[in-house]
Symmetry: C2
């Protein structure tokens, strides 16, 4: 067991921005909420996945909505507590453990706020190992786990509960309700037993995020390259060092869609990387060839500081390194590729593991 | 107590189409559903409002959606039963009495289906005394009654439950969920005690509908004018007899919006009536002056048969009488006019009781 204090929270926040593959919402907003709750209510226990009792009642607690809106309206952690209460009321059972739905971006740290208030532990596990734009895009879906009952709480005091026939329906209905509520809500979902959590979830992504955060911070302090440090630690692939020369971005149906073009510098001079995003960076195309594809993690780091740059923030002039980090093996199965591979997002490209594709 | 059999159901259906003010959905679809449930499960008890016990648990059960869609996809009464079960599950209490939310159109008879299946009585009361396009536009809203918890069931097997801060939020969130679900759902709403029902609801609108239906049917059988018979019985105002010469209609946000133009014939030759609708007929403007305004009921009847013509069906060539019937007195208060008067629908016209306005 680890107690998550403010320092560890800082590391997780930085690391989860890298695991977010450019999406998942600004984790610093999650940090503000979690820090404030921990200051008021004390540190939160981080429980390893294998220590969760079989009969625990586990739920994901997360935010849903347009990342840009969160920056303008800081959500209230009490709404996350209300979403969990609504889920418990329907189940007629207390939730015993909170878990992030995704270890990438904002939602990696969101559970720490309600966990501090409710005195519940957070599990070092998640349903993505990164960030994805759909609430059905989680490893429980691969295992037949159901997303509902799923409870929502918006900033206006509205609460709702869904029971859907498929996890894709939860995404559809949850999304329209979020847009109608002003583009941001908290939701508590995928209630599962401890036994199911141990079978279904990705293990230790918060530890991975914390390690990534620590590595970047140490490299900065010691004036080493944070990008090199991350690659050495994570077995990642350097896809391109360069300068952002153009960005095309639009908002559609609550998603941030577009493409950034990066011109290579140094060893990559003469090469061009096109980074396509739908909230997350999903496809990296170097000189016309896909060298990184979803579900692998495509992080774009500011080259000097290692600071991850989100798809909603990337702009002309940034000097960046785009790196590929392998996704969890569960995403590399046929079912995994069908749920979160390139064609799921409308790209006419086959998935190729980033370790292989980049070296060909 | 009355037992509602198929004959009485026929009368209520015809009369509720008149009370629908041109909207509320085709009541013959509700009739098909109710008739089928009554054939399988037996007649339904119609309970007078003043006979409902104070400690009863009353709920509205109704359909929501684009009326046109219902014609193409007949809803399943079992989904209405599921919506009620979802509401009961949340309340942890059995619903004892069902009630129509509106006595106009389809929803007047919708409760008889689930009532037959569940063996529950239907109350001779409603929340509108007519039909309105918004689920917040009910007399409980005038009395501080809350629309939620409100449970929805769609044809795909999805269920949802809302707890909103205002009844207007229920309308907003219920509407987007309905559009996303394919434009039709059942919903169970406004749970209230018997004591509240007796204070809040409009009394005996189903009896009024049955009476209207009987009058039209008798007049037809006896070769008298059904329009004259309705006016004599209900104290209504004849606004114009004429021929429909043009109709402009569009679908917007799940609503049927537009205007029909009727040129007077006989005693009304030379006059023109513009009938403006948003699902329901809301404004009747004769020769440039508003002679009938929401919340009064503006029914348009085929002149020979007295058959009510809905806003979604009215078209060039129909020979019609447009009549005004007074709404319930509760709608004529300041709060009532604010909730369902002309300005609520964006018309820059003051409400004037149809008995007065037409005679000036």
């Amino acid at each position: 067991m680890t107690h998550v204090d403010e320092l560890l929270l800082d590391d997780i926040t930085l690391g989860s921005a890298i695991l977010g593959s450019g999406g998942g919402g600004d984790p610093y907003i999650g940090l503000l909420l979690a820090r404030s709750a921990i200051q008021s209510h004390g540190a939160v226990q981080l429980t390893p996945l294998n220590c969760v009792p079989d009969d625990a009642l586990v739920a994901f607690i997360a935010s849903i909505g347009a990342p840009g809106v969160l920056i303008e309206k800081l959500p209230r952690t009490e709404d996350a507590v209300d979403a969990l209460a609504m889920l418990s009321h329907h189940l007629r059972q207390d939730i015993t453990h909170l878990c992030p739905i995704e270890a990438g971006g904002l939602n990696a740290v969101i559970p720490f706020g309600p966990a501090a208030i409710m005195g519940l532990p957070v599990i070092d596990a998640d349903g993505m190992g990164r960030a994805f734009p759909g609430l059905d895009m989680v490893t429980p879906t691969l295992n037949g786990g159901t997303s509902t009952p799923m409870a929502f709480a918006d900033e206006h005091g509205n609460r709702s509960l869904l029971l859907t026939e498929t996890n894709a329906w939860s995404e559809t209905l949850g999304r329209v309700s979020t847009v109608a509520s002003g583009c941001t809500q908290f939701f508590a979902s995928y209630p599962m037993t401890g036994r199911q959590a141990k079978q279904w979830l990705i293990d230790a992504p918060l530890s991975r995020a914390a390690r990534l955060g620590r590595i970047v911070r140490s490299a900065r302090a010691e004036h080493r390259s944070p990008v090199d440090a991350v690659l050495a630690q994570e077995g990642g692939i350097r896809l391109l060092d360069g300068k952002v020369v153009s960005v095309e971005r639009r908002n559609e149906g609550g998603f941030t869609l577009g493409e950034a073009v990066i011109e290579g510098t140094g060893a990559h001079a003469g090469s061009t990387l096109r980074l396509k995003f739908q909230n997350e960076y999903l496809i990296a195309e170097r000189d016309g060839r896909a060298v990184g594809t979803t579900p692998d993690i495509l992080a774009t780091l500011e080259i000097e500081t290692g600071e991850p740059i989100m798809a909603e923030d990337i702009r002309y002039g940034y000097r960046v390194a785009t790196i590929g980090l392998p996704c969890d093996d569960r995403w590399r199965t046929t079912d995994g590729i069908e749920l979160v591979g390139p064609r799921r997002f409308g790209y006419d490209v086959d998935y190729r593991p980033v370790e292989g594709g980049a070296r060909e």
